[in-house]
Symmetry: D2
Subunit: 285 residues, 4 copies
């Protein structure tokens, strides 16, 4: 018996999809361990995630071969991976490293199935606590208005060289160029603070304090050209009071940000997030 495999797919909805997919698995000695599906009534699109074991490697190979034909017929986007395959992840950070620190911790105890192939910061290594990041290459790529294209090229080089499959903006405070955003589309997760109502622009916690909101939150989303507007993966919020200073909001925000980002990264690494135009389907988080 092979270990768990994760099959994800999305395609135009039509009758018989679940049957066609699960029957094919059964024929090739694949056993469904877990399955979730969702049909978006508005867009007419169908989404599915299956965790399956195969009798042996040959069975998996045959299934992959056969399924590839089916996928063509049904116009599917699909992926089949071993569940314990660790993805290569590059983390970008700026001055505040609470999210970096949290990801390093979760990585160390094996909570997140990933290999961190590098850390890029626009601040020098001395500004970060990297003791938990031994053996992880650290890249200091400073940036100014004038050197942005070159700095982004440096990041792209690291991505290409390391084969990074996911880029995590762990409070990376530089706005990516449209080209960079397009380049990273669908494989880059950002975290930003958000509120009820939302605040844009600089110093959002100070804005929230000035507005007197009673709740603060954070949003993890995929990067698109429009920085804070990509498909949302995870959100969370908690109550605050009039007695909370802007500093208190920053402190509470740090905690929300790190848990929201960690959850989004975990969902992505476990193939739980499927893109649905400007939205996401998040299975079984």
């Amino acid at each position: 018996m092979t270990g768990h495999h994760i099959l994800t797919l999305s395609c135009p909805d039509r009758p018989g999809l679940t049957s066609a997919v699960t029957q094919r698995l059964f024929q090739h000695r694949g056993n469904v361990v877990e399955a979730q599906q969702f049909g978006d009534a508005e867009t007419g699109r169908f989404f599915m995630r299956i965790v399956a074991d195969f009798a042996d490697e040959a069975a998996e190979g045959e299934f992959r071969q056969d399924f590839s034909g089916l996928a063509g017929t049904y116009d599917m986007e699909w992926s089949l991976r071993q569940a314990d395959e660790r993805r290569r992840v590059l983390i970008l950070v700026s001055k505040f490293d609470h999210c970096l620190s949290d990801l390093l911790y979760r990585h160390r105890i094996g909570e997140l199935p990933m290999d961190i192939v590098g850390i890029v910061s626009n601040h020098p290594a001395e500004g970060h606590e990297l003791a938990g990041a031994r053996n992880i290459p650290f890249h200091h790529f400073p940036i100014t208005k004038d050197t942005k294209p070159q700095q982004e090229a440096q990041i792209r080089d690291v991505i290409e060289e390391t084969g990074a499959e996911l880029v995590v903006l762990a409070r990376y405070m530089q706005i990516l160029s449209d080209e960079m955003s397009a380049y990273l589309s669908g494989r880059c997760i950002n975290i930003h603070h958000s509120f009820l109502p939302g605040f844009k622009g600089a110093k959002p916690y100070h804005q929230a304090h000035a507005r007197g909101v009673k709740m603060i939150g954070a949003t993890a989303h995929y990067v698109t050209a429009d920085l804070d507007e990509g498909p949302i993966i995870v959100q969370d919020a908690e109550a605050i009071t009039h007695a909370d200073t802007p500093d208190d909001l920053v402190r509470k925000g740090r905690d929300i940000e790190r848990r929201v980002l960690a959850r989004a990264v975990r969902c992505h690494l476990e193939d739980r997030v499927l893109l649905n135009a400007q939205k996401t389907v998040v299975f079984g988080d």
Copy 2:
């Protein structure tokens, strides 16, 4: 095209189940709108809930016929119902009627797909606000230690006469006899307050206050002979402080109780809850 139907099933897990079920649906011109499944690795039991449309009534009839055979082969417990079929519900209440009041409200605006076939109280009608319950028969069945068997017989009579499919203990403060609990097993939902840590016995909010807990909660569960220990359907909790008096806890508890009970009732009415020995599987709540 028929309206939505809900198929639920549970059986010993084995390869090919999802395939067998969905294929059968496809053959009989049933279209899967929504599907969820869960395999309990510990008990080896498989659970599934499918929302499906059929091409026409004949198709549904054929499927039902055919599926019945399959269910025998796989040793399934199963049910197939029209999603908009309203279940007959009997509500039992004692002195405090916040849960009754909330269920009546949700019933009135059509949030809960049920017909309320009666309200039973061990207190007289004058003690309740029944203005929102016009046309719903009200039964005052007083109870004393000595008359418990007779009173429970009265309730059973109402259940039999009305064909009630679900009994909701909406803060019904009488402990059911073992016979009554067994009679209602799997079709009776109770709400009780619970805490971290839990408190048993009388005046739980006062106990919680005396203990100085910082959180109170409520649990909705199916009734078994052991009153507060049946399979749990829904739980929720919220923060309290040292400044909350026992009265404050009672007030906050009322709100938690009514939303937890309403959610549990809705899940049951939508066939989202499947029994898994002493536990439940709750799909897509």
Copy 3:
């Protein structure tokens, strides 16, 4: 001993305020049962809420007399009321009456210390469940674009005649004129749905669904000319998923809206909310 009295005050901050106030209470045989204060470091404004008992009515009268002088010296806005004095409240509603229904319920069981002096709707009585509102005058004031000034005049008449001290917009879907907003300033609470990020305009739940947010919420605030932007009193939010339809969001939103509005109304009735320019101080909710 008199029953509880609630003293609230706000004034420019300066040393000795707490001492001056509590000393004055002590001198007039007032006993502090509960006290909260807050100094806003940014605006330099001081806020206080004290629950106190007096030895007898004479003591209370003397204190009030004496305190009035102190308040002049310190430039205080202040109020002293009996805690069990019930405020007169007028409720405005449109088509959806889940908030009205909830307030009526809480009023009936004595959870909210208020007398409801009337219900105003721009829809006829038949559209509402008013069985729980016996003895409460119902006013049907229809409104069109052309009759808005007259309709608002009708509402003002009811407010004047009943001496309503608080107006609750319980999902009243008409935008108040600037004059009406100014007239109601500081004594009118509105509830509106809000999200992370916030959505303005029509059909907010549909907007939220289209955006794919993972959390919805609601805000209760005082009315100002800018309808959704008045000082915030209470906010709450909860998680949703991709599987929630716009109808599900509306259903979940109803629950959040009614509990957020009820909490805001209770805080107001218990003198827990003090205005701090465009923000609020909410004590000990």
Copy 4:
């Protein structure tokens, strides 16, 4: 002007307390920045926390001198400390170091006003990630049934030598002897997982899973002889589903535990927690 000072006190309740305390502050040129009080109607005990600035050090000295007399008269337990004075903290840990790791992180970024004077583990240093703990003495004190008295004596020695004012059991899995618990009473915080309903004994997450609860939580409390029953400081909980395996519960539990413990430690360090017999008063968390 001196920096912030924190005055906490508790005593039998009687009229004039707030007045007496704040007047004394005013007389000695102390300015109240923040004040909270609570009178426990059941036990007749009064609790107060004041943040105050003094005009200069002399003023603070005079106040302390004068207040000491008042405290005698009113039978007060009290404390007056500089708010930015860092307390000496000793952390005890066993195999799982998620709470230790989190506390080290918060310490590093200055979120918690403490000096960590040592880490004690019954497991060797190699088992922990101590890179973030440079300059913090690590003590490996193994323990067996037979050596418990000696091991506890070693811990006491470290406490005495370092002058540790607070001991944090950051998932220290050894049950303290009654003597040790008594020795640490009121100055030792423990974290334990708790549920609705609560589970005692070994493998609580597995118990919770077996019971099918829909919510897990954690409790931070002061240590008493009865390990899990000391005065509760902070609790939190979150929803789980049937699909969560025991491993998922452990993972989710880690996150709840670290944030609950961090919050309790911060509250303690900021003098927000006052003991009220078997309960706590937690001000303005």
